[in-house]
Structure formats: structure tokens, C-alpha cells
Symmetry: C2
Subunit: 412 residues, 2 copies
């Protein structure tokens, strides 16, 4: 008879795993150029070496002024100012204003010396080369940015553990930083198992199937910021699997087994994990459909996962457990939020309480909302997910969802 | 006096641009391996060459049976079946069932010949090597997948213009497809302009600023599936800018100018675009804040954009206009949805009707919801976006949003 499943909700399983990983272990980091930093996690706080802007900058095209010279100006009673020149872009200003004087000033350029505001060109009327009418008053500091208004030298500009976005690259380069220390990408070794599994570039005979989990899970590892290390396909043989797993674990930060995790007379994955080292298997079975037979272990502080062989279960367990673990090992404190949309269910979905269900859905735009049509099938076929736009979750305490219910669809 | 702005809402500007691009022009495509296909758009429908599963497959570990042999079975009155062997994994079955016979069968493996269902091992009790008790009846087809239930030879499995996801890679490999034709990635040339702009690896003197738009926009181009081609920084000189723009346009599918698009005596971008070819500038100015001075043009069916120089405007205009244009040129009919979360505004936001406003926000988790705190500033500084978690939109017909309003935050 099969062993008893002590199944655990997926979120609790993830917390249990992460709590047993020693977060005080320093993660390996490397110095990288900003040009390849998109999506990487910073391994240190980054401090600005400079103050920005370094000089008083205009935010409009117009005229540097002393604000006081414009007070009370109206189209009917303008202020007349003497134009004494133009502040060239990219050069220190050679122009200093006295009372009643002004200088042409450009967006992004410096103000003239001793100016304290800028009048927009739209609020002026040039009379001749040397005279301009100001039609509206400006306040001190108007239409300009003060030195340090963007960032001050010594400010923490990017916190440790943040994922670099396009604007972070810009923010760093604006203060002259072109390289950062990033946590190394976690390496994830992936072992497919099963006598019936052949490489995807081979032609199966009757009874054989192509290995697809290696490729779907490798793609998901890349998407999550990890480096996939496919180990190949092991036969249903304890010694062969143990040897390949050992070798994979020695060069990786995470080890993932695909297939062989069902309660089965073929199921040797748990034995392999226990034979690899301590503590071995820590969780066997999740209150999750699909994905119930998943296994979680730890070997020498490295997370190890046994994924169910069917591709839908494997991808869902990856998303719920391995993706956040990769982010954790990447030193990422703020993982990106998965994309979601709100939709209305197109049909009832039955479920059993005490279990989280994930159901693939196809989205359709209707006049009033987005409709999520469940793709129901009696088994977990890869085309169920290939035809789907996303997944919806039936929470653990619900016995199903009803047509018309508003649901959050995880785009997948 | 400045020229009159005929400003247009961003969505209308995008539709105007895309409507003038000839969609019947075939986009260049290339044959790529599935291992590098993640995120690429298919340039043809892809048809399955095979039927999957190719054989009747068990979805559980248990026993192949004729369902009729199990009818009426209960724990108290089980059906007794003769175990005549085991269906090996990955080999054609050598076992054929007669009435009252069964064979051990594994998850993912074939059924025995002439079986029409599988009994789960959990619903059996093995008496000895040759006899098993079945404790529960199964229906015909139960616990198995029929040939073709996943996909049939001749089915369209991935439609033209779809972006390849991990499950699509698996779906293609499951039927033996390892290469696809993908639309070539659009090449986007990027020209920074301005006498005050220096390369980000140089040290500015007073009045100079480092070029950051090249790097923020390049990162956004990569994120959108394009190939950035930075052309460098052109001085404020018509001939130099025209020459660099011509050269960039000749090797790219899209040309982007950064800075110089404000209504300004320095503004020569529109003249450059008109000098490049026909029809030249088609839209000058958007009812958008920040981003109003953006320019859109077309030269020989290639889209051309003039981005405002300030980095926040440039990124927002990119997101609203250039990102969807890249997806269009990539032949992508179903661009990915941007990530969003629903949050409650932490403060009032004033706005002017007749204009779409985008306001950076910092998110904070509260007990009941997520709070979006607007990051208000009088100008568009890169650190506004570096400190933000996302953007909210104040719609064109609203004069502002109120503290406590529920808003959709575009994670950015």
C-alpha cells in the first residue's frame, strides 16, 4: 500500500523551506557592467558619489530672471527686461545678471549667474534683440531645479536586493556609476528521469514520450533569473539517478528532479534525495491540484525539488515554489509581481476544500468585462496550458467557484 | 512665438501611426531553435505533425483492466483479477488482456493491449503475485488518456503572431518540433542629441549632463523584444544630426531621437524628420503629462519618434507609443499585458482635464490594501522613477484623483 501523504499547503511548504535555509550565508556576487544589469539583483546598497543636478537647471525654454523683476507683470502691463545674452548649453555660464537683466536659457541648461527663476518663452514677447516683455510673474525657484533636488552625494540610491529596472540604470549612470556588484545568478540543475522518456530531438517508438519538462522548466528558470543546467535523462535506476544527481548538485545551487515523484513503486526520488545528504526530504506532498506529489528537500543548504512528471503539474509547482526560491537565492528582496488581470468566470469550477486548485483559463474580451473560460480536462496535458492564457486559483477553503464570479487570472 | 501645438491623446496618436503603416508588408523572419525562442513571435501558424498521445496512456500507477471486470466492486465484495505481468515503461506492450486479467501499469506508461481503463493502486489490494482485489469500479476510459486527446496531427498548435512561452516550447517539442520561424526582432536606432549631453562614462563639467536616455531606452527596447542600436550623441547641429539619423535609419526598422523635441529655438528634430523623407512628421505634441512635446513621424514606412529630453517623459512616451510599435513590427498580435496592481491612493492628485497625466507612486502594504503614495515633484527627475514602484494614470476627462480612490498601478 502507498505511504501516507502528509500534504502541506504550497505557501506553507515554501515558508518551511525558506525558513530552513540559512539567510546569513553570504551569496556570491560579481561586478557587472550596467549594460548587462537589467533584471539582476544588487548585492549591496549603492550610494551616490555625486549631487544631481550639479548646477541650477532650467526645466523650460525661456529667460533666466530675478523673480523680483517680474512681480506684477501682466499682458497689459508687462515687465521690460534687458536681454544681455544667451546661456550656452554644456558650458559654464559667462553671464551674470544685474537688476532688470535677463538671458536666454534652454531646457536642461544652466541658469545665468545670480538668476533665481526662469520665465517660459510662452509667457514672453521679444521686442527686439535686446528687450523682452515678461507677461506673467514667476516665483523664486519657478521653472528650475535646484542643485541636489534629484539626489545628494551620500544618498542610498538603490537598496541591496533590488532588481535593476531601466530607470535604475539611468539613475546610476546619471551620477557616473557604470558598474555594480550583483548577486550571481543561481544555477539550477535539472534531471529528467524515466525509462519511457527520450530526448526531444529523437523519434519515439510506441510507449516512449519526448522529454519536455527539461525545456519548459529551463525556460521558466531563465525567466526567473536563474541559469538552467540540464543534466539529461536518467533511466529508472537508483545508482544512475544518484550519480547524475550528485554531479548536478555539486555544480548547482538548486537541484530539480522531473518525474518519479508520484507515490509509486517506481518512486525512488525521495530515496535519492535522502541518499544525497542531510537533512534530505523535508516535505513530501502538497495540498495542491495539480502538483500533489511534489517533494521538497534540502542537501547541505541547497534546495532540492522533485517535480511530478506531468508537464502542467511541473510548471505549476515550479511557479509556486521554485521561482520564489530562485529569487531568494538571487538575493532579491522584492521579486517582481506576476502579471494578473481581473476577469469573470465563464463556467462553474468544482473543487474539493482542503486543497488549492489551479485551473487553466482562456480569456475572451466581452463588452463589459474579460471572460475567463476554464479549460477542463481529466488529465494534465501540455496542450491544456499551451491553449490557455492564464491560471486561476480556487482557494484551499472553497469548494469551487461560480460562473460570473470575479477572479484574478495569473497570466501564464 | 512658439508654434501652436495640435496635441493628440496618446492612444489616438498610436492608432494614427499604426494605421499608416502598411501591415501587408511581409516582416522578415528567421528559423530559430526552440532553445532560444522564449519571448519571440511566430511568423507562421504552426501545425502539429503528430498525434499526442500516440498511445493510450495511464494517468495513475495501478492496473490495466477491462472496466466491465470491475463493475460492482466494493471493499466488502471486491473483484478478483489475475495479474499476468507488467507493462514496461518505454516499450510496446507485450501483454494482452483476456476477461478477468490485469497487468501492472505506471503513470505515463501504456495500457496493456485490449484494456480500456486503469484502476488506481490505492483502490486495490494485492493478494499474491498473481492476484489482485479491485475495491472500486472504474468506468471505461477512467484514469487514462486516449490517443489524440492532447493534440491531433494537422491541428494548428500555435497561431501566427503569438509570443512563445515556456509551455509553448513544451507543446512544440512534444510533437517533435525543435525549430520555428520567428519574425526578426525589430532594430531600433537611438540618437541622443544636445551640446550639453556627454557620454555616461565621461565626467561632466559645470553645465553638462550625462546621457542617460540612451541606456534607459535601450533597456526598454530590449524588454520589448527589440534590438537597441545606440548611435551616440549628436551636437546641436542640423547637418550632423541629419547625417547620423540617416545612417541610423538605413540600418534600423525604427528611429528614436532623444531630446530636442520641445517647442524651442533649439528644436530641429521635426525639421530633421521632415528632411529624412516622406511623409515626415505626422503628429507633433501629445495631450500627455509628462511627454507633451513628443513627435511622431514616418519615413518610408519606418516609424520615427522624437522623445522629450527629460528621462521620465522619455520613458513614459516609450511605454505608451514605442513599446506597442515594436510589438507591431515584431509581428506580435497579442503583446504581453503590463503588470498591474490595484491600490488605494495615499493623497489627492490634481490634474487638468483634457490631458492624460502619469504620476509615479511608491507602494506600501497596509492592513487592508496596498497604498499608492504619489511622488510629486515640480520636474521630471530620473530619481522620481528610480524611487517609484509604478505609475498611475489620471484619465483625460478627470480633473484629478482623490485620496482613498482605488487606482490601477502599472508596475514600472
Amino acid at each position: 500500500m502507498p505511504e501516507f501523504f502528509n500534504v502541506m499547503p504550497p505557501q506553507q511548504a515554501l515558508q518551511t523551506l525558506l525558513a530552513r535555509l540559512d539567510v546569513s550565508l553570504p551569496r556570491a556576487s560579481e561586478c557587472i557592467s550596467l549594460t548587462v544589469s537589467l533584471g539582476r539583483a544588487t548585492s549591496t546598497d549603492i550610494i551616490s558619489p555625486e549631487t544631481l543636478p550639479a548646477f541650477p537647471r532650467s526645466t523650460v525654454d525661456g529667460f533666466s530672471v530675478n523673480a523680483i523683476d517680474t512681480f506684477g507683470a501682466t499682458p497689459g502691463l508687462p515687465s521690460y527686461l534687458e536681454v544681455i545674452g544667451e546661456v550656452s548649453m554644456g558650458k559654464p555660464p559667462s553671464i551674470s545678471l544685474n537688476t532688470g537683466q535677463t538671458a536666454v536659457t534652454y531646457t536642461g541648461g544652466m541658469l545665468a549667474d545670480r538668476a533665481d527663476a526662469v520665465v517660459m518663452i510662452e509667457d514672453t514677447q521679444q521686442i527686439d534683440e535686446h528687450t523682452v516683455e515678461v507677461l506673467r510673474p514667476v516665483a523664486i525657484g519657478e521653472n528650475m531645479v535646484h542643485p541636489g533636488e534629484d539626489v545628494h552625494a551620500g544618498d542610498t540610491i538603490i537598496a541591496q536586493g533590488k532588481i535593476i529596472r531601466p530607470q535604475d540604470i539611468g539613475a546610476l549612470q546619471s551620477v557616473g556609476i557604470n558598474h555594480i556588484r550583483a548577486t550571481k545568478k543561481p544555477r539550477v540543475a535539472l534531471l529528467s528521469m524515466g525509462d519511457e522518456v527520450i530526448s526531444s530531438d529523437q523519434t519515439p517508438i510506441v510507449g516512449q514520450i519526448r522529454d519536455i519538462n527539461t525545456h519548459t522548466i529551463s525556460a521558466m528558470i531563465s525567466q526567473s533569473g536563474g541559469i538552467p543546467i540540464p543534466l539529461g535523462i536518467a533511466r529508472d535506476d537508483f545508482d544512475e539517478q544518484l550519480k547524475m544527481a550528485k554531479s548536478g548538485l555539486s555544480e548547482a545551487d538548486i537541484l530539480v528532479f522531473s518525474a518519479g515523484s508520484s507515490v509509486s513503486i517506481r518512486d525512488i526520488t525521495a530515496d535519492i534525495i535522502n541518499a544525497l545528504g542531510d537533512p534530505g526530504v523535508i516535505i513530501h506532498g502538497l495540498s495542491l491540484k495539480p502538483g500533489k506529489p511534489a517533494i521538497i528537500g534540502i542537501i547541505d543548504q541547497k534546495p532540492v525539488f522533485g517535480l511530478p512528471g506531468n508537464p502542467v503539474s511541473a510548471m505549476i509547482v515550479f511557479d509556486l515554489l521554485i521561482r520564489p526560491t530562485i529569487y531568494q537565492l538571487a538575493g532579491c528582496k522584492f521579486p517582481p509581481e506576476p502579471s494578473t488581470v481581473i476577469a469573470q468566470l465563464g463556467a462553474n469550477i468544482p473543487s474539493a476544500p482542503g486543497r488549492e486548485d489551479y485551473v487553466p483559463v482562456k480569456l475572451e474580451n466581452s463588452d463589459v468585462s474579460i471572460i475567463a473560460h476554464p479549460i477542463l480536462g481529466k488529465s494534465n496535458l501540455i496542450y491544456t496550458l499551451a491553449r490557455a492564457d492564464g491560471l486561476i486559483q480556487v482557494p484551499i477553503d472553497k469548494s469551487g467557484l461560480y460562473e460570473g464570479d470575479f477572479v484574478k487570472v495569473r497570466l501564464f
